[in-house]
């Protein structure tokens, strides 16, 4: 099965019943797969007129009670970002898949890249905290999609899945999980009667119960900064808690959101830090290096945002050197530099010519820094 189709399967397993999208290479199989599968199970697929409309329809689909997803690639993701910001502000759960290709602009439609990593965190205007996940195999893509939906519903927020062209089009064996094999989280519904309902209430975990339109709550949803009733406000004492809520409902739960794959790190002196398809290359390079007697380990970031500061600091504490490998001019390396102590050397392997990184290139880097 292809990575893009595994993503559709994961979404359907999670309860996705609404997909709106606009075709763009290399994400098209996500739209095609959804168009094929959703009508069979009572779901709905619509091909909108552009990416802006697609994410708008997805947000509205979510507010009317569906788990909803869209998929796109770089230029389409850029177009969606204003409305993704709307989803952050209105606390609307939804999943956006960005099958990354080279950029900027139309760039490299059929070539691999990881150059939208920062965009998934900082793409839309204003202050907010984002969640982004990045699988590295086709099977991972299925399970990480389930996790993305769970995070979206749990935290009432958009979640970005960062795939890349290679992963989207790669074919591997996939096990479709049985119902119940993975936990599926659904948004919390309000229990208060409609006349006492506060749609954006400050709850202890900062996630407010969310009714669907049509369930009798008749509340206002606006992209304007709003009070707990959902009405726009200009008052500093209402603006501040709203924005703090957007940040803290995620940042206070970073440990719950963070997921890493850690290999051969117990005694590692050199650690690879990577994500997506590059993480597989790193893992293999580390295994080859081990056979040759070098103490190399690998850390794969399944959760890219929020960045797993605490976990990485702990894992790298005994390393002398870290190699950050990514398919861009250096995006995640800035985060690694931000958090690691000065006595750890940070090296990079970057590739941005549309080709993948090979284990050989990473091993050459290991030799170079040893």
């Amino acid at each position: 099965m292809q990575g893009n189709i595994a993503c559709v399967q994961g979404a359907i397993y999670s309860g996705m019943r609404f997909f709106a999208g606009y075709p763009i290479t290399p994400s098209t199989e996500l739209a095609e797969g959804s168009a094929r599968e959703l009508p069979k199970i009572g779901g709905r697929f619509i091909q909108m007129e552009d990416e802006i409309a697609s994410i708008a329809a997805v947000i509205a689909g979510s507010i009317t009670g569906h788990k909803a997803m869209t998929a796109t690639s770089g230029p389409g993701f850029s177009l969606m970002l204003e409305n993704i910001g709307y989803a952050y502000m209105t606390e609307t759960p939804c999943v956006i898949v960005n099958v990354q290709r080279g950029g900027p602009s139309t760039g490299l439609p059929t070539k691999v890249s990881q150059s939208d990593t920062m965009q998934a965190r900082w793409g839309t205007h204003g202050d907010y905290t984002a969640i982004a996940v990045a699988p590295s195999s086709v099977n991972d893509t299925l399970t990480e999609t389930i996790r993305a939906f769970n995070l979206a519903e749990r935290f009432r927020t958009p979640v970005t899945i960062l795939l890349d062209e290679v992963l989207g089009h790669m074919r591997e064996m996939v096990t479709i999980p049985e119902p119940g094999e993975y936990q599926v989280i659904n948004r919390i519904k309000p229990t208060a009667p409609p006349d006492q309902f506060e749609p954006f209430a400050m709850t202890p975990n900062l996630v407010s119960p969310m009714p669907a339109y049509g369930e009798g709550y008749r509340y206002n949803v606006t992209g304007l900064t709003h009070d707990t009733m959902g009405f726009s406000t200009n008052r500093a004492d209402e603006i501040f808690p709203k924005l703090e809520k957007l940040r803290n409902k995620i940042e206070n739960y970073t440990d719950e959101i963070t997921k890493l794959r850690v290999e051969m790190m117990d005694d590692a002196e050199i650690a690879f830090i990577s994500y997506g398809t590059v993480a597989r290359t790193s893992m293999q390079a580390a295994a080859i290096a081990r056979k040759a007697g070098a103490k190399v380990g690998s850390i794969q970031l399944y959760t890219i945002w929020p960045f797993p500061d605490k976990q990485l600091i702990e894992l790298c504490a005994r390393c002398r050197k870290v190699i950050v490998a990514e398919l861009n001019m250096g995006q995640i390396v800035h985060e690694v530099r931000r958090i690691l102590p000065r006595d750890i050397e940070i090296h990079t392997v970057q590739r941005y010519d549309g080709e993948i990184l090979t284990p050989l290139q990473l091993l050459q880097k290991v030799e170079e820094v040893m």
Binding site: K40, A53, A60, G61, Y86, Y213, G214, R218, G223, M229
Partner: protein, 282 residues
């Protein structure tokens, strides 16, 4: 008796507002938006719609604040995208009545693409487009309906561009119900909105309205009252317009039901038929 009737009427309006939360409104005194809003409320009340089953969607602009004032499921979205959000909402929950309130800038400039595609799909959304020829909220800039030659803050020497005819555009793009009224003709506007909501398919009601604060002032058309009187002068019912020459109709506003097609299928119905047919084949 009149006072009791008056009181009753005002109670109908009040029962649909969110008075304690959202008033006074952002609208200028005398703004035509209030007339459109009361016509809309009366239309909904006459039809006896369940408040919980109505979704009011809007984009950005003076006009687009209307759903926020009304006690329905209200979705105040990004600039120009009301119809895209509305399409998602209607397609996701076809049992809901989806009504879009939008302005000329919102629907026809930034939202122009969504406008033609919503018409093309013939999805069952009622779009009330309040056309006041200008951007009000941002302070009087030209819009796609600003008449050629007229003044705005971005057409200080007269507009060199041509204006859209929203109704002709909607009909050409595939909308199955198209009508136009002015804020001078409030009862007729109410009836037109009623028919539009009852119509199964994409329905456009273009409500010609006054922005005396910007358009009226910049084009020396006077205050709200004189602008509304002007609409009375300019309006020509569609039946009468058929007997008039293009020269006689120049500068006039043709009002009434301009187009109705009850044969064209509605999008959500069509999707459901496809799903049912698939289930039957299995």
């Amino acid at each position: 008796m009149a006072t009791i009737v008056e009181k009753h009427k005002s109670d109908v309006i009040l029962s649909y507002l969110r008075p304690r939360k959202k008033f006074p409104s952002v609208w200028c005194a005398g703004c035509g938006n209030g007339i459109v809003m009361s016509a809309l409320i009366r239309a909904i009340d006459n039809l006896g719609l369940n408040k919980d089953e109505v979704i009011m969607v809007s984009g950005i602009g003076c006009t687009s604040r209307m759903p926020v004032y009304l006690d329905f499921n209200s979705l105040h979205t990004t600039h120009g995208r009301a119809l895209a959000f509305a399409t998602g909402a209607k397609f996701a929950q076809p049992k809901m009545k989806v009504i879009v309130i939008t302005g000329d800038g919102d629907a026809l400039a930034i939202g122009g693409n969504h406008f033609i595609h919503a018409c093309r799909r013939n999805i069952d959304i009622t779009c009330i487009l309040i056309n006041n020829y200008i951007y009000g909220m941002t302070g009087g800039q030209g819009s796609p309906t600003t008449p050629a030659g007229s003044f705005s803050t971005t057409t200080p020497y007269g507009n060199a561009e041509k204006a859209f005819d929203a109704c002709a555009l909607a009909q050409a793009a595939g909308a199955s119900f198209v009508g136009r009224q002015t804020v001078h003709h409030a009862p007729q506007l109410e009836k037109l909105i009623m028919k539009a909501i009852q119509h199964n398919g994409f329905s456009l009601v273009e409500a010609m309205s006054n922005c005396h604060t910007y358009y009226g002032r910049l084009n020396k058309q006077g205050d709200a009252v004189s602008m509304i009187k002007m609409f009375k002068e300019l309006a020509v019912p569609v039946t009468k317009a058929k007997t008039m020459t293009p020269e006689e109709l120049r500068g006039k506003i043709i009002t009434g039901e301009l187009h109705e097609d009850n044969v064209k299928t509605e999008f959500c119905d069509e999707y459901q038929r496809m799903v049912d047919a698939m289930a039957g084949r299995k």
